[in-house]
């Protein structure tokens, strides 16, 4: 049933632009999709290894800036006499470079900060994001600082000499984001359902026991950080070549918070959670804009969020799947004599596995 649901979703998203002609709505879907990819990447760290990265936007921004710079080219005056000139590269190369550099910074953060856990990890990630933001703001020679990098080329699809399509319109960008989102989803899904994912969950649940059973604690945390950062970098690359302008504001803390909200309300540690959360909190503000003033919008947004966290502390997806299992008894795990909470947790796992 869940497999069917997944395919129905994919089919729905694939055909959506055919009957949804509102370009503005398509734009909202694209930006929501980009944020959903970032939320999925955060979920790998937060939901599966249990480490809260509050600097996640740093990887998003690093991906965005790297991709922009590689596609635009840049020169750096290293000494008075020598200037390093980097010629513009094709956008796809830039996109991959953004992913790689973001992944490398994930590795760095993982290596440095996985000696420390919990609150200390949170602080290290926040500081990292702030440092990167200040670099982007002040290294004007490279990043143009607050003047922003402009005229970033869009993605292009070409058969050399025969046919070329630059992604100036929303439609190709929509499908590109959808494709990257599917790849990201499959990546997380395969990892999570493997021995690697189980090792990550084991670290979240009981680190000493995991270590004594032979799970290399640091290795899997660093691996999660790399994959997560690379995925966030991909989202950043998509963003930069779609919006075609990038300034240091991409590093703002509010974006990290948005990602965390998406993951938590959707259901951390479930595969579908960040998607549900990403779509709701990507689309909701735009829908509200139609009939509410900005102040009222934010109030509704906040109230909605508090209600979700208050009534569905594990998130929307676990709650829905618990309800579904209650109703139709699809799960083999009876839940046993436990209280309501472990039952819900069981449902979380089941939901995570099945979707």
């Amino acid at each position: 049933m869940n497999r069917w649901l997944t395919w129905a979703w994919v089919a729905f998203l694939l055909t959506l632009p055919l009957w949804m002609e509102d370009q503005y709505f398509l734009h909202i879907l694209i930006t929501s999709g980009i944020f959903t990819i970032a939320a999925m990447s955060l979920n790998l760290l937060l939901g599966y290894t249990g480490q809260l990265s509050l600097g996640h936007v740093a990887f998003f921004g690093i991906g965005a800036y790297t991709s922009a710079l590689v596609s635009l080219g840049f020169d750096l005056e290293l000494t008075d006499t020598y200037t390093f000139v980097f010629a513009p590269r094709p956008v796809w190369v830039a996109f991959v470079a953004g992913i790689v550099v973001a992944g490398m910074s994930g590795w760095l953060i993982g290596k440095i900060s996985f000696k420390v856990r919990g609150a200390y990890f949170v602080i290290v990630t926040i500081s990292f994001a702030e440092v990167v933001r200040l670099v982007a703001l002040n290294w004007v020679d490279l990043t143009e600082g607050p003047m922003a990098l402009n005229n970033i080329p869009p993605f292009t699809l070409a058969v050399p000499g025969v046919w070329e399509l630059a992604f100036f319109h929303k439609l190709p960008n929509y499908y590109l984001v959808l494709a990257v989102a599917i790849v990201s989803y499959v990546t997380v899904r395969r990892l999570v359902h493997s021995r690697i994912g189980r090792a990550m969950i084991a670290l979240r649940e009981n680190e000493p026991l995991a270590a004594s059973a032979g799970v290399d604690v640091t290795r899997y945390l660093v691996l999660a950080a790399i994959v997560s950062a690379a995925m966030a970098g991909a989202a950043g690359g998509l963003y930069t070549h779609y919006i075609r302008i990038v300034d240091p504001d991409v590093f703002l803390f509010i974006y990290t918070v948005t990602m965390v909200i998406m993951v938590i309300t959707g259901g951390k540690g479930t595969l579908a959670g960040p998607i549900v959360g990403g779509l709701i909190f990507g689309i909701l503000p735009e829908v509200l804009r139609e009939f509410a003033s900005p102040e009222v919008q934010w109030i509704i947004y906040g109230v909605f969020m508090i209600m979700i966290v208050f009534f569905l502390p594990n998130g929307i997806v676990p709650a829905l799947s618990a309800w579904w299992n209650d109703r139709f008894g699809a799960t083999p795990s009876a839940g046993g004599p436990g209280t309501g909470l472990p039952d819900l947790e069981a449902a979380t796992r089941t939901a995570g596995e099945a979707t």
Binding site: T187, R190, L191, S194, R195, I196, R198, A199, I201, A202, E205, N206, P208, L209, A210, A211, S212, A213, G214, V215, D216, V217, L223, P332, S333, A334, G335, G336, P337, G338, P342, E345, A346, R349
Partner: protein, 264 residues
Amino acid sequence: MSAGNGTAETVLAVDDLAVHFGGLAALNNVSFDVREGEVASLIGPNGAGKTTAFNVITGFQPPTTGTIRYKGQSLNGLRPNQIAEFGVVRTFQKTSVFASNSVFDNILIGLHRQGASKTWEILLSLPRVRKEELWLREKAAEILDFVGLSARANELGGALPYGEQRLLEVAIALAADPSLLLLDEPVSGMNPAETASFMDMVGKIRARGITILLVEHDMRMVMEVSDRVVVLNQGQIIAEGTPDEIQQDAEVIRAYLGHGARRA
């Protein structure tokens, strides 16, 4: 079943071990061996340093001085997961399972060391990855069957009754494919019937060729299952020998029953 006679080879050699917490010597001058295929027990009153010894052997606590060798390989300075790679796996005194995962998943996590799929193979979902996954699941079912928890496979680890959580703990350790299994008070909190069946299981584990080092307060169990007993008191070894010898040892009796009027 290999008997723990004097001719069996030494696998674990603890030599001149000391652990100091500030001015307190949790262990001092502790040396003992564990031989291939035997059940050795570490006993002693509360605070004697038994769990500290376990923590040092399995890499959770660095020793102040002394060496630990397993099959000739020094374990000093290795992390717990590296020590597990040599086949030295422990359970914990305070019950420790993956509480919010199903019993079956608990075992699958324990089987981590037996899987070999690389990250890129998993990302590409190669056929051999899927084959390995099926193999691991079979293996997990087998281990659950071995400890008698098959009926509980889909329940949450944390929802099991206490005695069964202790069994699950042993099952997780067994999944990690140990050659030396360290059990830290495995029957504490079990009722007599559970203890009796656990003792049977110790025999079955041993029959698989796994050497066992046991810390336990239940003397009936210790005396029945052990080939050799090492007695710790206040961080030092005060006696070592067969269960019969230990039960006759005047020093041991003093440590357990107190010094009586003589000291006063």
